[in-house]
């Protein structure tokens, strides 16, 4: 359950940055690369609990997934990777290798984890 540690960092960094933005926080939208080993469900649960007593209490945590993209230093390929798994009930994962020539690749997207935006409503008191 390392999601709690991640959400703890998130709240600690976000609250001071919102100080200059009045209003009620409705949603915190996070973008998470698909290579990150973090459960969306656990992130949302952790957020609900750890946000209590902070400016973010009652806001929704929304987790959007960022697909993996790579570039190949050998052949110049840029784009998505091949996948492993995906049959039956198994989800598939990206294979970090060039789908064109098989060389080792650089990961351009898929490892990020950041707050994209926060949605605020203009009143700071109403509940609805």
């Amino acid at each position: 359950m390392h999601e709690y540690a991640v959400v703890d960092e998130l709240i600690g960094a976000l609250v001071p940055r919102l100080a200059e933005h009045p209003g009620r926080v409705r949603a915190v939208v996070v973008r998470k690369g698909e290579l990150r080993i973090l459960s969306d469900h656990a992130l949302v649960n952790a957020f609900e609990i750890l946000a209590r007593g902070t400016r973010l209490e009652g806001a929704d945590l929304v987790v959007e997934t960022v697909a993996t993209a790579v570039s190949c230093p050998a052949c110049g390929y840029q784009g998505p990777t091949g996948r492993f798994g995906g049959e039956g009930d198994h989800f598939s994962i990206p294979v970090l290798s060039c789908p064109q020539c098989g060389s080792d690749v650089r990961v351009d997207a898929g490892r990020e984890l950041y707050v994209d935006h926060v949605t605020l409503s203009d009143d700071s008191t109403a509940n609805g």
Partner: protein, 221 residues
């Protein structure tokens, strides 16, 4: 309603900065650092124990950071092998973080160290998102955990470049074919390196240490 947009700084930026500081600190002292993680009972501690002996034979001085939820059993084992060691208890935390490693480094005489092993808490999943600042990361699993370990944790293995499959001497007894693990790993990570070991017998360790670049004295890095 209105949106406040952010610059895309990583949520774990503070951790990443601390990890980079650890990395620079170890580099400046010419210490090569290896982070060892893996499931409970896979053989992480035995790997480090054997590496202490083996690297001493190669003229290298080894230090260790031994992390466990509680106790100092691993730490004592490393001290008994003649390594400088720091014990870290993470208590209820399921992973080490860069901040804890920074404090542990304060307690080590880095000028007298060539190679540092950081043994994480026994846990295959949680440590993966917390970089410590080590030069290389080794994931240790064993055949007794089953031959489907890679298939069950593909994301970990897709991003781990050094994998040790330990206790291969027990494979027949537990009905596991190590080749299945090898094949799965090469499918999820075609550029990674996998080592079949029997660490209690010291088998397969030299190949790993060579691949980690721990082949000679510290002047090389």
């Amino acid at each position: 309603m209105h949106d406040v947009r952010f610059t895309g700084e990583d949520i774990l930026a503070r951790q990443l900065e601390l990890a980079e500081a650890n990395y620079r600190r170890l580099r400046e002292k010419h210490v090569r650092s290896i982070s060892v993680l893996g499931a409970i009972g896979s053989g992480k501690t035995t790997l480090v124990e054997q590496a202490i002996d083996r690297l001493r034979g190669r003229g290298l001085r080894v230090a260790t950071i031994a992390a466990d939820s509680a106790g100092d059993d691993d730490h004592r084992r490393f001290l008994a092998r003649g390594a400088k060691s720091v014990n870290v208890n993470t208590q209820d935390d399921c992973h080490l973080d860069a901040h804890t490693v920074d404090h542990a480094l304060d307690a080590l005489p880095l000028e007298e160290v060539d190679v540092l092993f950081i043994e994480n808490v026994g846990n295959l999943i949680c440590p993966a998102d917390f970089p410590l600042g080590a030069d290389a990361e080794v994931v240790v699993i064993s055949v007794t955990e089953g031959d489907d370990m890679v298939r069950k944790h593909p994301k970990i293995f897709a991003q781990t470049d050094f994998v040790v499959v330990n206790k291969v001497d027990l494979a027949p007894a537990v009905g596991v074919d190590p080749k299945r693990i090898v094949d799965d790993y090469s499918a999820v990570n075609p550029h990674g390196k996998l080592f079949l070991t029997s660490l209690r017998r010291g088998e397969g360790l030299d190949e790993l240490l060579d691949a980690l670049g721990l082949g000679c004295t510290s002047t090389q890095w």
